[in-house]
Amino acid sequence: MAKQANFDKETYLHFYEQMVHIREFEEECLRAFQRGNHGIGGYLHLYSGEEAIAVGIIGALELDKGDCFIGHYRDHAYALAAGSAPGPVMAEICGKYTGCSKGKGGSMHICDAEKGFYGGYGIVGGNVPIALGLAYAQKYRKQAAVSVCFFGDGSMNQGAFHETLNMCQLYKVPALFVLENNGYAMGTSIERSHANTDLTDRVSSYNMNRKKIDGQNIVTVHEEVKQIVADMKKNPAPFFLECDTYRFHGHGAADEAKQTVVYRTKAEIEEAKANRDPIAIAAELLLENGTLTDALIVKIHDEAVAAAKAAMQFSDDSPVPPAEELLKDVYI
């Protein structure tokens, strides 16, 4: 795309750093999960390979001016992209009292009210109707703001998705629906689960503005979304944005090994890592126009690794929630 020649270097250098930090943060999570002595239990869903989406889109929001977002359970990157401190996010994943949800939510339920992050949800499609409400509130208050909803291809087969999109379009609320199409819902490919595999086309059922883009190119993602969000703020209406992407790890840390046996080949994964890594693609663009240097790449990577370890250290040094927390926060 033409835009890529002249884009704001500082912005993208920052985005590049964020992507690398997110990647290393989650690799640290995975190692900790495998070591098994950091408090991580239950499910751990990693975003590796999809970083350009969270970073490019959340980076286009004015979180201090009322923009907000909501996600599903693959949610670490949303918080980090919004600038939430890595320590409390890691502490949440490890079930510590210093975690963003006091250790009560875990990996699937990260949130940051201050940053307008209304949380990660575990029921497929369950976060989508809530986005309608967030956007309705913005309309109610006549705010020039948008509500972004991140979800996966699997969510589109939940009835909740369809009731919601219809109502958003009827009420013309400023909801931006971001489909992270990584080709699979757990072990089920798009082909095996969607009668119409053109997921953007499915939304014609709601007459909603829509577009399909390459989710691996941070410049494409960010420049497109900047424009879309600006338009939404001028003329409030929902928008459906499909980001074509790929998940490098298993669905969850637990099926890391099983995936290549039952639903996709090692070759397919390697091919994607080689040609569709959003970090490598960004590096190439940024080297090209002189924003990055090889030395800087190494420096950023080392800083990211250090930051991830520091986050884990923060978590390791943190206490578990005190027993009296058990009965708190059920009612206000």
């Binding site: 907000c68 909501i70 975690g99 963003c100 949800s101 006091k102 250790g103 009560k104 939510g105 339920h109 949130c111 940051d112 009210a113 209304y118 949380g119 949800y121 029921i123 369950g126 989508v128 109707p129 809530i130 986005a131 309608l132 409400g133 967030l134 956007a135 309705y136 509130a137 913005q138 309309k139 109610y140 509500s147 009835g159 909740a160 009731e163 919601t164 219809n166 109502m167 009827l170 009420y171 708190k328 926060d329 059920v330 009612y331 206000i332």
Partner: protein, 337 residues
């Protein structure tokens, strides 16, 4: 004091609170242009406008989701289910989301919303439209479940529900909606009176509808009225029943019934429909667990038949509890031992 129908008391509560608080709005099917399926919201659209009186498609999941998100963002939505039975398609949004959001995010958010609609048995609406499923919601921590029996509570609990910072399921009795004040006054003078103005009724405080000495009848919603009718019948036989209306299932006030049983030593617990795993089971269990040494006879539970609601009027009338069942249960407990 004004004597009102239950439906008018509900409407008054919503209207007054919407006038007081800009952040309150009503969303549901046919609530606006149609003036409400049962005309509860007659004139609302004209007074408050489209933004605050929101007509929706037949999309209960979307209605509840809209409410949750708006509540998290700081508004106070009232989500109307045309009938509370229609909350079942939105069950996931209610029990997996509205109920859990505050806890699973460590208290960062609150969800001040009301999910309300007419509920309960009867009127020949048959299996899918004639149910009292309040226990289904009351079992989930994070929700409050409110069941007004009288016009005064219809308004008073509505005000409190709207102002509460938690998701509240307001279980309204369809059977009570249209009952004329006179009919209620005949059952007990003052029963249809609704105090003027801003009179919220606190949650978690059972209401002694009638004092008595011989037996304690614990009920809620429409069955509290039936219990009063039973008490009238019993009084003719010189049996004086204390009638307690629980008002709210969560929070549940057991102190009031237990104190009463200390006095009467006998208890009858009444519930409109299905006994098995119903709300009356919890009440009966707590009475026996906590009031064991006060009881002179086993607790009697009066509930409807464990069947989907039949359509034919004669079968239907056999399917839910009524005043005569309550009278019989009272006599069993007095005969007990």
């Amino acid at each position: 004091m004004a004597k009102l129908r239950y439906i008018d008391a509900l409407a008054q509560g919503i209207r007054e609170e919407m006038r007081r608080d800009e952040s309150v709005f009503l969303v549901g099917e046919e609530v606006g242009q149609y003036q409400g399926t049962l005309e509860l919201s007659k004139g609302f659209l004209e007074e408050f406008g489209k933004l605050r009186i929101v007509d929706t498609p037949i999309s209960e999941v979307g209605i509840i989701g809209l409410g949750i998100g708006a509540a998290m963002a700081g508004l106070r939505p009232i989500c109307e289910m045309m009938r509370l039975d229609f909350a079942t398609p939105a069950f996931d949004q209610i029990v997996q989301h509205a109920a859990k959001i505050r806890y699973m995010f460590g208290g960062q958010f609150k969800v001040p919303m009301v999910i309300r609609g007419p509920s309960g048995v009867g009127l020949q609406l048959s299996a899918q439209h004639s149910q009292a499923i309040e226990a289904t919601f009351a079992h989930y921590p994070g929700l409050k479940v409110v069941c007004p029996a009288t016009p005064a509570d219809a308004k008073g609990l509505m005000l409190t529900a709207i102002r509460d910072d938690n998701p509240v399921v307001m279980v309204e009795s369809l059977r009570m909606y249209m009952v004329k004040p006179d009919a209620l006054e005949k059952i007990q003078p003052g029963l249809s009176e609704v105090p003027e103005g801003d009179t919220g009724v606190p949650f978690g405080q059972a209401n002694i509808l009638r004092e008595g000495t011989d037996v304690t009848i614990v009920a809620y919603s429409w069955m509290a009225i039936k219990a009063l009718e039973a008490a009238n019948i019993l009084a003719k036989d010189g049996i004086f029943a204390e009638v307690i209306d629980l008002r709210t299932l969560t929070p549940l006030d057991m102190a009031t019934p237990l104190a009463s049983i200390k006095k009467t030593h006998r208890a009858v617990v009444v519930q409109e429909q299905w006994g098995l795993y119903g709300a009356a089971a919890e009440v009966s269990a707590q009475i026996a667990e906590r009031g064991f040494y006060d009881l002179d006879a086993p607790v009697q539970r009066v509930t409807g038949a464990f069947v989907p609601m039949p359509y034919a009027k004669n079968l239907e009338s056999l399917a839910f509890a009524n005043e005569n069942d309550i009278v019989a249960a009272v006599k069993r407990t007095l005969g007990g031992k």
